[in-house]
Symmetry: C2
Subunit: 341 residues, 2 copies
DNA sequence: TTGTAGGCGTTATCAA
DNA sequence: TTGATAACGCCTACAA
């Protein structure tokens, strides 16, 4: 006896439909793919059967046949708890997801435990990847992806890496925006709480900070600069130290750290913005309900994800993708900043 | 000429490996799947070729042949911005994702725009679904999934639905825990800000609230109860109203709403917990850095997701899954509650 | 307008 | 210990 699948086979396949319609699989396939050259009555009859049985062609069979999985992978490189707990990244993911499905693709989640994304690609599960904001500690991911020749797009520049596609904002300009705002309010002694140095964004925001100081002839003072890892706690700790310095304002390069910073300030019985003005970065939803509502640099998180998805799919489909994508930023002035008294 | 794929075909397939090894595909397949009956030398030679070429069997070809995609779908039923911006759900997703990959499955993200998950299932892309905390407004999803006979597990009970598999906590008990805490501190006039009625959890927490009042002979007062949709803003609005009532404590059934509530209290120049004690729910990471740090009911978010994944995969693999899974909760006492003065 | 036949990359049966 | 062959469900070149 020949090799046969399971018993009473209820699966509806193109063959089943064909049999019931009394035509060949080819004809059904033609109907399925809206090809011409099918007699209207035949088409209609087949269409009826298809809808009656809720038939859908097996995606994987199609994938093998067409050498196309219509699926992309989403690589989340940081320790998952970091990404997952920062609402900014959630928005990026939402953008990726929505755009992906709009283009008729599916999204496979890939954690970077081990290098499972390599397998996933080589098994042809996905046609490419979106890498959520990798930093210099994730160069191995980038290199590996390059090595296996997987198309990918990152949602941030990567320090020292050329020739990779990314979507990003102008971090230098964004930082300058924050600084100009503070300076226009009369602040001169302005602190900085900067993100992890593994991120290009940190580097660039740092230059924006320094360079704006210079523009206004304010001397740079390393004592006013502290580093955090992006978490609320690290912002709290950094601010705790800065409170020993004389300053009237602090630029904090992400809203989560700004939350920590504000907490530290309050604990010293100082008041934002009366004693210290704070500018954050990202404009996460929470920013507007903080006490006080946070003045911050708004970057288009959703659009960042969506653009990355768009670029990747263009890449996959062989369209020219020469330009990287730089998205606009803006400052949202709320109540955490005020004129110096 | 016969139908042929692309030009210089660099794809490494089982056939290629077989050709290079001078054996049949069958033998390579045996090696691939660790079957016995392969001469050690043959096996080694094939293994070498496999690693040399980084060969991985095409996942989809395998899926067709085995009638098994090794993939599950993650359905996010709420308006995406809601789920995505509540850190609690992020944790659930992380649990799902980690457990899924631990079991050798892949995770496909499914937004519920239209009923795309139906297609995804019928195209055999996934073998089942995890539905993130559906409410009564998502019964259509549940019904549809039942109709197409897709295995699925929800991360919450669903009002009025029997016979569905879910992971949840004992919401009644959890609410009682919160109430007992407040009552033990001497509070008698305790308000409630409850979540959307579409969620079973709201219903059950509500009974927990009422029933604990009764246990201590405290009369139920509808004026002390308000409803929110889970957002910070709704908590803010609800608390704004409750401030017109005489009360000394409020049980808020999620931390995000509690954040809004605290904001409202502060704006009236009242102090938490001196004037009003607050108990939240979920214990999101933010809870401990709020001002004051929030006393709240901790539910195991990560584990909720992980358990759901575990149940689903058991289901898919034909293991008995008779019991639904009820996870433990606990109260975390911080500084937003205090003795009544 | 339709059907035949072969190919996509894998695994399973059965005979050698 | 191995291989020929068919099967999974789909698509397409080509002939009818």
């Amino acid at each position: 006896m020949k090799y046969q699948r399971g018993e009473a086979d209820l699966r509806v396949t193109i063959g089943e439909i064909a049999r019931m319609a009394g035509v060949s699989k080819t004809t059904v396939s033609r109907v399925l793919n809206n090809k011409p050259d099918v007699k209207p009555e035949t088409r209609e009859m087949i269409l009826n059967l298809i809808s009656e049985y809720g038939f859908q062609p097996n995606a994987f069979a199609k994938a093998i046949s067409l050498q196309k999985s219509h699926t992309v992978g989403l690589i989340i490189p940081y320790k998952a708890d970091y990404i997952f707990s920062n609402p900014f990244y959630s928005e990026v993911m939402r953008g990726v997801s929505t755009e992906t499905s709009k283009r008729g693709y599916h999204l496979l989640l890939c954690y970077t435990h081990k290098e499972n994304y390599v397998d996933i690609f080589q098994q042809k599960r996905v046609e490419g990847f979106i890498v959520i904001s990798p930093g210099s500690t994730h160069k191995n991911i980038i290199h590996k992806l390059t090595e296996i020749e997987a198309p990918f797009v990152a949602t941030s520049k990567i320090p020292g890496e050329q020739n990779i596609k990314y979507v990003d904002i102008d971090n230098f300009y964004a930082a300058a925006l924050a600084m100009e705002h503070l300076i226009s309010l009369g602040h001169r002694r302005i602190g900085l709480i900067i993100g992890p140095p593994v991120l290009t964004s940190s580097e660039e925001r740092m230059s924006g900070y320094i360079s704006t100081l210079k523009k206004y002839n304010i001397p740079y003072n390393g004592n006013l600069v502290r580093q955090g890892n992006g978490s609320i706690e690290s912002g709290y700790a950094a601010m705790g130290e800065l409170l020993n310095e004389e300053l009237t304002a602090v630029f904090v390069t992400c809203d989560t750290m700004a939350m920590g910073a504000i907490k530290a300030i309050k604990e010293k019985n100082k008041v934002v913005p009366r004693d210290i003005s704070i500018v954050g970065f990202d404009d996460i939803p929470l920013a507007q309900i903080l006490d006080p509502p946070l003045t911050t640099i708004k970057q288009p998180a959703y659009e960042k994800g969506a653009s990355a998805a768009r670029m990747l799919i263009d890449l996959i489909e062989g369209k020219e993708v020469t330009e990287n994508c730089i998205l606009p930023v803006d400052i949202v002035v709320r109540n955490s900043t005020s004129n110096i008294l």
